[in-house]
């Protein structure tokens, strides 16, 4: 498998989903999974998948001792793997900037020279594909499609690509042609395409011109939360209802609809506070909008939250809102439900396809969003019903089932060959 992010160092939903799916597949048994990421930190869980770091894979031959390797990258990878990989260098990449181990450095994030990093990743993939014996190649999201294609060309094994999002979701239609081409290239080379929702499946079929039989939906799931997170204390002295938006403040997430709905609710209700947690390129615009609506006293921005802070925020919330304009799946409402927070989600998000005990609205329908918020904070039965039924529902959405579906797809592909 080729991925870009892996917990605990994640920047978005991609890492969580890649991790959950891998674990879910391992739970079904009889799987030997190698997971390639650009830059492992060493604290990734290794119990169900072998992690190979692209930045630890040599592309130029260097004569280094076992001890030196152990000291340099021992926390990430077994030195023997390094030697195995070194034996499969297929071309001289000394012209590229490599380090003392003959490896290319990766940031593992989304830097400005992202395209260059994607290209380097694909070069490294050539080495790994020659080293690791596999039956299936699985690429997560567009950043790793070129690597997947390269590995397929080297090994001749079937390629499955996993579409966690398309550029149509990210840009509200103003597609970046370079990204589009990488995506489309990946889709045409793939033997099978997995999408995280029917919504995304439709995009892949219609916008990228991919034949429908090649595309299957496997909905995402959630990991059960740890006891520690579930038992977080709610902040004391809370007197008003808290309505929370959590996510990147970008066009895709529809933050302005949240502000408009908040303005409506606040004109009628006084003991409510709205929180917009996260950061993004529309944050300043949102702050100005909040000021223009005259609700700054009860509308707060927290900035980017990470790790435990996210769950502390959820614990303090009475309503969770995700008014995304276009959301391939959207895992965060599921997490909110796990924390017992009633959720309002847009019908334009993929998770709306599988969730029952949430309120679904059109993202642009700020009246409906406001009505739903009002109902949850004013009528205790509504809150209770959504909370209890939501918890029960989300506890049944597990990665093991998603993993089984992916394994079925693998079997079909291997059977066809």
């Amino acid at each position: 498998m080729f991925g870009w992010e892996f917990p605990p160092h994640i920047l978005g939903g991609l890492g969580t989903a890649s991790y959950g799916l891998t674990k879910g597949m391992a739970q079904n048994g009889d799987m030997d999974i190698t997971f390639v990421i650009p830059k492992p930190w060493g604290d990734e869980p290794k119990d169900f998948a072998r992690i190979i770091g692209a930045n630890c894979t040599p592309v130029a031959w260097r004569d280094v001792s076992w001890d030196y390797i152990q000291q340099r990258i021992g926390n990430v990878m077994d030195p023997q793997t390094y030697y195995n990989l070194r034996d499969h260098i297929y071309s001289d990449f000394n012209y590229m900037s490599t380090n003392d181990l003959g490896c290319i450095e990766f940031s593992g994030r989304y830097p400005d020279n992202l395209l260059e990093e994607i290209n380097n990743y694909s070069i490294v993939a050539g080495v790994i594909a020659r080293t690791v014996d596999c039956d299936i190649i699985h690429s997560h999201d567009w950043l790793t499609y070129p690597a997947g294609i390269h590995a397929k060309q080297v090994t001749g094994k079937p390629l499955v690509i996993h579409v966690h999002a398309t550029d149509f979701d990210r840009s509200r239609g103003n597609v970046n042609p370079t990204v589009f081409n990488i995506e489309r290239d990946g889709m045409t080379h793939a033997d099978h395409i997995i999408t995280v929702s029917n919504l995304t499946r439709q995009t892949v079929i219609e916008k990228y011109g991919i034949p429908a039989y090649k595309v299957t939906t496997v909905h995402n799931a959630v990991e059960p939360l740890s006891e520690e997170l579930l038992n977080l204390e709610a902040p004391p002295g809370k007197t008003s209802k808290v309505i929370t938006f959590l996510g990147r403040i970008t066009m895709q997430k529809g933050p302005e609809y949240f502000v408009e709905a908040a303005a409506q609710v606040l004109s009628k209700v006084h003991n409510a506070q709205f929180v917009m947690a996260g950061s993004g390129d529309m944050m300043e615009k949102m702050i100005r909008l909040v000021a223009r609506r005259g609700i700054s006293d009860r509308f707060h921005f927290t900035g980017f939250l990470k790790g435990k802070q996210v769950y502390e925020m959820l614990k303090a919330s009475d309503v969770y809102i995700m008014p995304s304009v276009s959301e391939p799946f959207g895992i965060s409402p599921l997490e909110a439900m796990q924390m017992g927070v009633p959720s309002i989600i847009s019908k334009q998000s993929g998770c709306a396809e599988i969730l029952e005990n949430v309120i679904k609205v059109d993202y642009w329908d700020t009246n409906a969003i406001a009505d739903a918020i009002y109902s949850i904070i004013k009528y205790p039965a509504m809150y209770k019903q959504l909370q209890e039924q939501g918890l029960e529902e989300v506890s049944k959405i597990v990665w093991k089932k998603a993993g089984a579906k992916v394994i079925d797809i693998y079997r079909n592909l291997i059977g066809q060959q």
Partner: protein, 478 residues
């Protein structure tokens, strides 16, 4: 000797318009007139009117050999009066034949029987009055909303003087017993019970046009054959269904109307008669008692009240609604009284059901809302406004009992003042007459003494309800 007893239910609620929380306190009109008009007119055109015509033809053809019974809710009657008055006329024609019996029920098709016995009794009386006004019959047999029934309800119904009640032959109540007999209530043995034969009723109302059903196509002679083949002791077959069965649930082109028209002919061949519920109760004796400690109904797979009170949302909405019942009973405002009835319709709670699979699809089929949550939100917004209006009627600081006493005093004084005014008027006239000097002044004798409303009755009823709420409170404290 066997008999078939047909009873048809007609009910439509006043559906609520999209009522936003901004409207609370500002807008006091709650109903979606357009949808209500559209739905009742469509159903009347496709079902009620042609079915009435069919029944009228059949009664004309077979004389008093063919009889049916109707239960029409007050809210449906009101809508029909407004939007489809020709239906009321056609119903009057049916009533005039003497072969149609009207049953009693709650005016609003409400859940009052489960929540508030005082309200329940009032609604039944209001409904019976309406039936008498329109069709000139005093209903003798009771049928509760969606056939909801329990021992407690049977005691209430018996206390109102009904001879019999209609309910569902739920399997978990009947066990091995057959619904084709008359039973008696366990708590009020004088009250006879007629039970719906679910299999034979649903054969017509749900399975008639189902191609996958092994008995498709269902013909009148086959159907009568089934009934004739039942054991000789099972004498009464109760076929209870929605009137929409004809033309709406089973479309006209399925042949449902011709099926019905053919029934009496084949029934006559096999010696099967048609009786109204009153006739059944007069002619037959109960074979045993039926204990129903927990309420049953004819809705959903479970045949209990979970269709309306199955989840947190529904319970909350119902509890909130009946929490103001006592206040509403004191109010004289006619619009509030009207809204009070309309908001009680069980349908509003039916829409809030979160059941899945086949039950769930029935709920969402009838619901005008996208989801149960939308149904709840909208209803609660309306209810919030309604409660504000009710509270505005009287100062909140006064307790219900005190308020009741004060209102009684005011009403008595009103009567007295009116009486005295009349006397004064009379006196004046006499004085004017007397100026002619022809007649001596005679004291007025025929002035009736002011009729005082008796206060004893009310507090007695009050006590019962307050006790009930008191026990409830302690229960929740535990």
């Amino acid at each position: 000797m066997k008999a078939i007893c047909f009873y048809f239910q007609i009910h439509q609620p006043f559906r609520l318009k999209n009522y936003r929380f901004f409207d609370i306190g500002n807008d006091h009109y709650y109903y979606d007139d357009f949808a209500n008009d559209e739905i009742i007119t469509r159903i009347a055109q496709r079902s009620y009117l042609p079915a009435n015509e069919m029944l009228l033809d059949m009664i004309r053809q077979y004389g008093d050999k063919f009889k049916v019974a109707f239960s029409i809710s007050g809210t449906a009657l009101e809508q029909l009066e407004i939007y489809v008055p020709e239906f009321i006329d056609s119903m009057k024609d049916l009533a005039a034949t003497g072969c149609v019996e009207f049953l009693s029920e709650t005016y609003a098709h409400s859940l009052a029987s489960l929540e508030d016995s005082e309200e329940f009794i009032t609604q039944v009386k209001v409904h019976d009055k309406k039936i008498y006004q329109l069709f000139g019959q005093h209903p003798k047999v009771f049928r509760n909303t969606e056939l909801i029934y329990s021992d407690d309800i049977s005691a209430l119904v018996a206390s109102m003087g009904f001879k019999g009640a209609i309910t569902d032959g739920a399997k978990h109540i009947l066990g091995w017993k057959s619904p084709n007999y008359i039973y008696a209530s366990a708590l009020a043995p004088k009250l006879k019970l007629m039970l719906k034969n679910s299999k034979l009723s649903d054969d017509i109302s749900f399975r008639f046009s189902n191609y996958e059903w092994e008995s498709y196509p269902l013909t009148a002679d086959k159907y009568i054959d089934w009934i004739a083949q039942l054991p000789d002791e099972e004498q009464i077959i109760n076929l209870f269904m929605n009137y929409e069965t004809f033309g709406e649930l089973q479309p006209r082109e399925s042949g449902i109307f011709d099926f019905m028209r053919a029934l009496p002919r084949f029934a006559a061949q096999r010696g099967i008669e048609f009786w109204t519920p009153s006739e059944v109760l007069a002619k037959m004796k109960p074979v045993g008692q039926l204990a129903v400690p927990y309420p049953i109904s004819w809705a959903d797979e479970a045949r209990d009240t979970s269709a309306w009170l199955g989840n947190t949302l529904q319970n909350e909405a119902v509890k909130k609604l009946y929490s103001i019942a006592e206040r509403v009973h004191l109010v004289q405002d006619r619009r509030i009284k009207q809204d009070w009835y309309y908001l009680q319709a069980s349908d509003h709670f039916f829409y809030m059901s979160t059941k899945h699979s086949s039950d769930g699809s029935v709920h969402s089929h009838y619901s005008p809302y996208e989801s149960p949550y939308a149904a709840f939100t909208n209803y609660m917004n309306v209810l919030s406004d309604f409660m504000i209006r009710v509270r505005e009627q009287f100062p909140e600081s006064i307790e219900n009992e005190e308020l009741n006493a004060l209102l009684l005093t005011i009403r008595n004084q009103e009567n007295e003042i009116e009486q005295l005014n009349r006397e004064v008027e009379m006196m004046r006239r006499n004085i004017v007459k007397d100026t002619t000097g022809d007649f001596p002044v005679e004291p007025e004798k025929d002035v009736p003494t002011p009729k005082k409303e008796r206060a004893e009755k009310k507090p007695a009823a009050k006590k019962a309800t307050t006790k009930k709420t008191a026990t409830k409170k302690t229960a929740t404290k535990k």
